[in-house]
């Protein structure tokens, strides 16, 4: 795959390294000549000095044949414009933008950026996952499908302990995918499966019904 990365900062640099290791053809566009030289010295001629928001620069590096375009500069507006130029001028099929402000996610989607990655959101998700008392943790967001994968813990206080799956009042769009018991092996729940304290349930749900799913599983 030919992947173009905009911004050779710390994020761009390590991303470039990983993508090269996976065997992709990668090019970084970086405005600062010193940063560009450092990358070239260390990793070879994979850095082009130029502004990734300029259509002419993008034409020069063959953006028309790029499979993926990833903008990771520190400025949301630069990432937005770079992705839009790549999309509308060079027809790149997949554009990804880094977000500083997580609240720009909706705007970027509306304006044609295919994927947005917010470091703030990622860190919050990771923290939630590490907090053991958190009853519902979001494991993964499948943005294009409008679904999230969550991990719900059945505590000894849950009023659903001892109930079977078919007794639960689950939101219609939510699906239980897997039960990981305290002891024993993980299994796919059936309608007669009984919930035990300490069970960990992996479920798929639209984000809107996440709270309802949590309530149905904890019995509150």
């Amino acid at each position: 795959m030919y992947i173009i990365v905009i911004g050779g900062g710390r994020l761009g640099y390590y991303l470039l390294k990983e993508l090269l290791k996976e065997g992709h053809e990668v090019l970084v566009l970086e405005k600062d000549s010193r940063v560009c030289k450092t990358i070239t010295d260390e990793l070879g001629s994979v850095c082009f000095r130029g502004d990734g928001c300029e259509a002419a620069t993008l034409a020069e590096v063959g953006t028309g044949r790029a499979d993926m375009f990833i903008a990771v500069t520190g400025d949301d507006e630069d990432n937005l414009v770079a992705c839009q130029v790549a999309k509308h001028k060079h027809n790149v099929p997949r554009t990804i933008a880094r977000l500083r402000n997580p609240r720009n996610a909706i705007l970027f989607k509306k304006l044609g950026v295919d994927v947005t990655v917010s470091s703030t959101d990622l860190i919050i998700e990771a923290i939630e996952r590490e907090v053991p008392t958190h009853p519902v943790t979001q494991l993964l967001t499948l943005e294009e499908k409008g679904l999230v994968i969550v991990d719900v813990k059945i505590t000894p206080e849950s009023s659903t302990v001892g109930k079977t799956v078919k007794d639960l009042k689950l939101p219609r769009e939510s699906k239980l995918a897997l039960i990981i018991p305290n002891e024993g092996s993980a299994h796919v729940p059936a309608s007669h499966t009984v919930l035990h304290p300490g069970d960990q349930i992996i479920a798929v749900t639209p984000p809107e019904t996440k709270e309802a799913l949590k309530a149905a599983l904890s019995g509150k």
Binding site: C53, E54, A55, A56, D75, D76, E77, D78, L80, V81, Q84, V85, H88, K89, N101, R103, I106, L107, K110, L111
Partner: protein, 132 residues
């Protein structure tokens, strides 16, 4: 008209005072309060501190009631992003965007933004002056 201008540089301040003089209700937004010194003492509109690419700041500046939004900061990309927020999120009826880079200007104009490239206009003016 309710007019919201983003960027209180020389052009922004001048436009604000002209429109204010014409009797419009003008609000000008800048993320550096020092730039408000450019507004004349006669300016009767509102000068507000804030970042025009931030939805909260735009709301505070009254974008929901604006009839016209003009982006005049030094950054092309910032202007483009603010204008797209004004147009697509807040549905401002008329949005004007200054973009120095002629190529970017052409692209966003094709995408439906009302754009002005001072670079293009000024080069044309100069040519006419020189050749005329």
């Amino acid at each position: 008209m309710n007019i919201l201008i983003m960027g209180c540089g020389r052009v922004g301040a001048r436009l604000a005072s002209l429109l204010d003089g014409d009797g419009h209700k003008v609000t000008i937004l800048d993320n550096d309060t020092y730039s408000f010194r450019r507004l004349p003492p006669s300016f009767s509109g509102t000068a507000l501190f804030g970042n025009g690419t931030d939805e909260e700041a735009l709301k505070k500046a009254g974008i929901e009631d604006a009839d016209l939004f003009v982006a005049l900061t030094q950054g092309d990309n910032r202007n483009v992003m603010a204008c797209q927020i004004a147009k697509h999120i807040f549905k401002v009826p008329r949005v004007v965007c200054r973009i120095y880079d002629p190529l970017r200007e052409e692209m966003y104009s094709a995408l439906g933004l009302e754009t002005i490239s001072p670079t293009k206009i000024f080069a044309q003016l100069l040519r006419e002056k020189i050749e005329g």
